[in-house]
Symmetry: C2
Subunit: 276 residues, 2 copies
């Protein structure tokens, strides 16, 4: 019932965080229960969803290093139906701290599976669970926002996921990194997570005034065919203004082209998931 989708691309600045925030919000807006998990030490997804520094006492760092259960790190956002596992810069120490630790690539998956098992339990034994159990809400979607790197944090997220959503900026350098990303997915599928599929590729920051955008879009569709979403996210200044107000674009300016594109993307994603 819970679909876990990792949003990853080692190329920097391609719209991973913006997609996690706004796709998450659009899914919540149509009634899905969503958890956005921020595993980037920059903590941009946490900030863009209005999570204050004080609310980040327990983050995915504590979950991965082993001190906390997933539910200890979950905070509600101002968006109905959307919860967040926040991140802080402490997370950048996780990779070195896990060197030599057994099953270090599976820490996130183990924590997620424990959480999902508890929510299943909650279902079967009705409402008489103790408080801690009772708030264990099953999510329809868990979206994991990754740092711009194929490091242990990103590998943990890929190992814990059913599908990978790749935001692809319509620029030349972003295209160059795609083959390295596809190789990494094959490696993860071969050794850590055989079920990992490319859920989709979404073209971001498309600028209709710029030929390069069209060229990149044509190139990607030629190579990856149906994996590429029909919905294209346009470059739209409201999208980049929204995070400074701690709001997703959908709440900052619902009518803008960026918000409307993310709403369409959510609709298309739900269609794809139904077809599975």
């Amino acid at each position: 019932r819970t679909r876990v989708i990792v949003i990853a691309n080692q190329k920097g600045g391609v719209g991973k965080t913006t997609t996690a925030i706004n796709l998450g919000t659009a899914l919540a807006a149509v009634g899905k229960s969503v958890l956005v998990m921020d595993i980037d030490p920059q903590g941009n997804a946490s900030t863009g969803l209005g999570i204050s520094k004080e609310q980040r006492a327990t983050t995915v760092y504590e979950v991965i290093i082993g001190h906390a259960a997933l539910e200890d790190s979950i905070v509600a956002s101002a968006i109905p139906g959307l919860h967040v596992v926040p991140a802080t810069p402490d997370l950048s120490g996780a990779e070195m701290e896990l060197v030599g630790v057994p099953r270090r690539s599976f820490r996130l998956r183990d924590a997620l599976n424990a959480y999902i098992a508890k929510t299943e339990l909650g279902k079967s034994s009705g409402k008489d669970l103790v408080k801690a159990e009772a708030v264990l809400q099953p999510y329809d979607f868990i979206l994991i926002d990754c740092p711009p790197s194929l490091n242990l944090l990103t590998i943990n997220a890929m190992t814990a996921s059913h599908g990978l959503l790749v935001p692809l900026q319509c620029e030349f350098f972003a295209l160059e990194g795609l083959s390295q990303l596809l190789r990494t997915i094959d490696l993860v599928r071969g050794s850590l997570n055989p079920q990992l599929e490319i859920q989709g590729v979404v073209l971001t920051m498309f600028d209709k005034r710029n030929n390069l955008s069209d060229q990149v879009a044509d190139d990607v569709r030629k190579h990856l065919g149906d994996k590429v979403y029909q919905t294209v996210i346009p470059r739209n200044v409201k999208v980049s203004e929204a995070p400074s107000h701690g709001l997703p674009a959908l709440l900052y300016d619902y009518k803008c082209a960026g918000s409307q594109a993310y709403i369409k993307l959510a609709g298309e994603l739900i269609q794809r998931e139904k077809a599975l």
Copy 2:
């Protein structure tokens, strides 16, 4: 005589590679001898400077892991006065391979110092050096392009450098990461490289149609004062088109606003260096 400048910012997509390529080219255009060192496994700086896959047989990976001297990895670019140490995806394995190795943060510095010492040697003993020594050219500037992360590769580059040049995209998320970057610089200065200074901050992808750019620019100048270059790099489509032709913007379209801004930046950088 050789100034080593690391171009770093863990925020992705802020213009690190574009700055390394075009600032490097502009410095070469005014007669400086320049080495651009690509330590990002994505290899974007190598591609943007027209270095083919075949020319990347020896990269900074071999230099850092210890098998090759720096001069073994240097290739000439099509730009007079500009050489490149290229990168390939192999580089992403370096961090894990160096775990437990002594002085792992100093590998790049040791390699650079060995190279610079040889060029000094070349100076003192005249032209009668053997072929290998004779090509050891002293550079005026070595620019190191980093991946979007504060990992061991970036720490190596910071440890090997005199100054840090921070490209800062005029966007909210890019501003959020600045304090984490400044903390890391203090850590490196405290333990690995006391001489590391912030050489400057350069505002990139400035869009005069967008209030956000002005707000970010004002905010940064308020916090960092004179460290921020007067020259601002505008968002300019020619700059993002140039890499698909394997050319720096200065060779792709010399007259465009992006190229002219990088030429001005080079001039301002040389002024700052003279004042030291």
